[in-house]
Symmetry: C2
Subunit: 165 residues, 2 copies
């Protein structure tokens, strides 16, 4: 099997739960944003599971990574797309614009806030960014949807602040 | 005159307005934070005007900088201290904790939010970060105090949100 053929294989971890994950508003937003970065259509022939495969970090893979480390530009970019997709899904459900502001120090710690107007819809501390990833696509969607739900709740509770400039 | 002697001279741009600037809550917070980074006491013999001299970018100096550019680590660090000092001054006047989250892209654009609980106390778009600086100490304090006033106003208007986790 050549390297090119291996790329055409479905992502190995796709289960029914993973397939359902791809149909969540967050899962769809994430796949859409990833494809938006694919300027040359290289991913056109891949399904969403394959496109999101980089977000999956199995236990085995995680164990191989050092405890301390510096996030690669690719990991950093993947985090940006992850939080942008959460903003997109919150926006889809509330009609309110949400934008991420992520401060990530070189050593992999920092903070991200998802901001709607003058409201912090979601706030998280970031640690171990170099090991950013989820055990499965289902785990990825679960984590993303939890932040979406939190953001939607905040925007719904403070609509005026969320809409203010 | 040796290089060492020149360091001992007062900052050349100090006017009565500059001296007053150093006495604002923001000016004092900024000098305090800058000195907190001076682990070896090198600045002990310098006055605050000298310690804050790096924030002053005169028109002449600004003209010498290219229109496009990449902010140096020192400029980036100075911006972080600037926004941290604004947070400190807001905190001093309201008793509410405020923290900066700054996302600065390599090319010098980005966004900074000063966050109190779930409230965005201050939000600014960043452009031309490589030319970060103020025409004088008075100009520096004026800009900083304006952001402090904005933040204090927001925290005072939304105390519950500002205090929420």
């Amino acid at each position: 099997m050549s390297a090119v053929e291996s790329l055409d294989m479905p992502a190995p971890s796709t289960t029914p739960a993973d397939a359902a994950a791809l149909e969540t508003p967050f899962g769809r937003a994430l796949a859409k944003l990833m494809r938006a970065h694919d300027q040359f259509g290289v991913w056109d022939k891949y399904d969403d599971a394959k496109v999101l495969d980089g977000f999956v970090l199995t236990k085995e893979k995680r164990k191989q990574l050092p405890v301390d480390g510096i996030p690669t530009p690719e990991t950093r970019w993947r985090m940006e797309v992850y939080y942008a997709a959460i903003c997109m899904a919150i926006e889809g459900r509330t009609g309110t614009q949400v934008a991420p502001v992520m401060q990530l120090h070189r050593e992999g710690f920092g903070r991200v806030v998802l901001v709607a107007g003058r409201l912090v819809a979601v706030s998280r501390t970031i640690r171990d960014a170099h090991r950013f990833g989820f055990p499965s696509l289902a785990g990825l969607a679960e984590a993303g949807e939890a932040l979406v739900a939190e953001g939607v709740d905040m925007v719904t509770r403070y609509p005026e602040l969320a809409a203010s400039g």
